[in-house]
């Protein structure tokens, strides 16, 4: 085996297929011209493909094809007539719009789906930074309740003050009121 045989043998099928171009192709051909081992490998590939290509397929008689066609016709007659599917009609219609031509149906469907999904999420999601209406009401009520409490306390104080004054007045009245007895 010469230097580089392994690498060349890796390329033999691609060479056989006409897949190699330019420098790579010339490299393989030059190697095959000077390396009997690799040339034999290339022959082996060619022989294998030639043999497989020549495998026979029994040629059925004309009657076979008549029966074949009749059987297909019979089975098709039991089927519903085919119609273009909705998406096929959409796909056939799209290319008539020159601006839409580069946009594949799949890309459009994905974009529409995304928009729809975003819309649904935005519609049904409860915003985190905005409290619900009930929260406003409760907080307002709480505030009012607290204010009321203060007011009540104020009233109480005022009442105490009034009471104190009344008491003072009573004493004053008592002092001034004439004795009945």
């Amino acid at each position: 085996m010469m230097d580089g045989c392994e690498a060349i043998r890796e390329l033999l099928i691609a060479h056989q297929e006409g897949e190699l171009e330019g420098k790579e192709c010339r490299l393989v051909e030059a190697h095959l011209a000077t390396c009997p081992g690799c040339a034999r490998e290339a022959d082996l590939i060619q022989e294998a493909l030639r043999r497989v290509q020549g495998f026979p397929v029994p040629d059925p008689p004309e009657k076979f094809w008549e029966d074949f066609g009749a059987a297909v016709r019979r089975r098709i007659a039991e089927e519903r007539p085919p119609h273009p599917s909705f998406w096929t009609r959409v796909a056939n219609w799209l290319p008539r719009w020159p601006r839409l031509r580069p946009v594949s149906a799949l890309a459009m469907a994905t974009a529409l789906g995304l928009l729809l999904a975003i819309g649904i999420v935005r519609t049904y999601r409860t915003p985190r930074d905005v409290p619900p209406v009930e929260a406003f009401v409760v907080s307002e009520d709480l505030g009012i309740a607290q204010d009321l409490e203060v007011l009540e306390n104020l009233d109480l104080l005022q009442e105490v003050e009034v009471l104190e004054r009344l008491e003072l007045l009573r004493h004053m009245d008592g002092a001034r009121r004439p004795r009945l007895s």
């Binding site: 099928i13 691609a14 056989q16 297929e17 897949e19 034999r40 490998e41 082996l44 590939i45 022989e47 294998a48 493909l49 043999r51 497989v52 290509q53 020549g54 495998f55 026979p56 397929v57 029994p58 059925p60 076979f64 094809w65 074949f68 066609g69 059987a71 297909v72 016709r73 089975r75 098709i76 089927e79 007539p81 085919p82 119609h83 273009p84 599917s85 998406w87 096929t88 796909a91 056939n92």
Partner: protein
């Protein structure tokens, strides 16, 4: 795009269902040969080819004409063949052996007289289904790697890799004979 085929498809979709027979007549031999090469059995090949056309008719509404009609039917037929091979390999081994013995009379092996051809046929039978399909489509049906990728619904790189593996297996099989001689 194969314009005449597409025109026929449109006629069928427009309600002229009898026009489908034009497509059947045009591709029945190719599809039958493909099925025979995949299954190596005339009766299975006939059934699978008929089923391929019935399925093609059934889903004709989804055919958009982006690939050739023949590629589209090939795809249906190859999938049917792969499923057939898969279900056959799942059967009880004893039953499979018995069935193979029954089929031997019209199997490919019986048609091959050269022992190297028989060894190659055996090597092809031992390939993974995707590699076997790729080899059949490339060498015996003459499809390009790009068309094979469309038929097998894979990338062109995967189609090439499968092909290279399959050819290497055949090469190794022939190497044994060459070493022995």
């Amino acid at each position: 795009m194969h314009q005449p085929d597409l025109e026929v498809v449109q006629r069928v979709l427009a309600g002229e269902t009898a026009a489908f027979e034009i497509l059947v007549r045009q591709y029945q031999q190719e599809i039958y040969r493909l099925a025979y090469r995949m299954t190596r059995n005339a009766e299975d090949a006939k059934d699978l080819a008929q089923e391929a056309f019935v399925q093609a008719y059934r889903s004709l509404g989804t055919f958009r004409g982006q690939s050739r009609f023949s590629t589209w039917v090939y795809r249906i037929a190859v999938n049917l063949c792969l499923n057939h091979l898969k279900s056959a390999s799942r059967q009880d081994p004893a039953e499979v052996n018995g069935r193979l013995a029954d089929q031997r009379e019209d199997s490919l092996t019986a048609l091959l007289t050269d022992e190297r051809d028989r060894a190659l046929a055996q090597a092809i039978e031992g390939l993974p289904p995707q590699q076997k399909a790729t080899l059949t489509l490339r060498v015996q049906q003459g499809l390009s790697h790009r068309e094979i990728a469309q038929v097998l619904d894979c990338s062109e790189g995967t189609a090439k890799a499968n092909y290279f593996h399959a050819v290497r297996a055949l090469q190794r099989k022939l190497q044994v004979f060459r070493d022995a001689s």
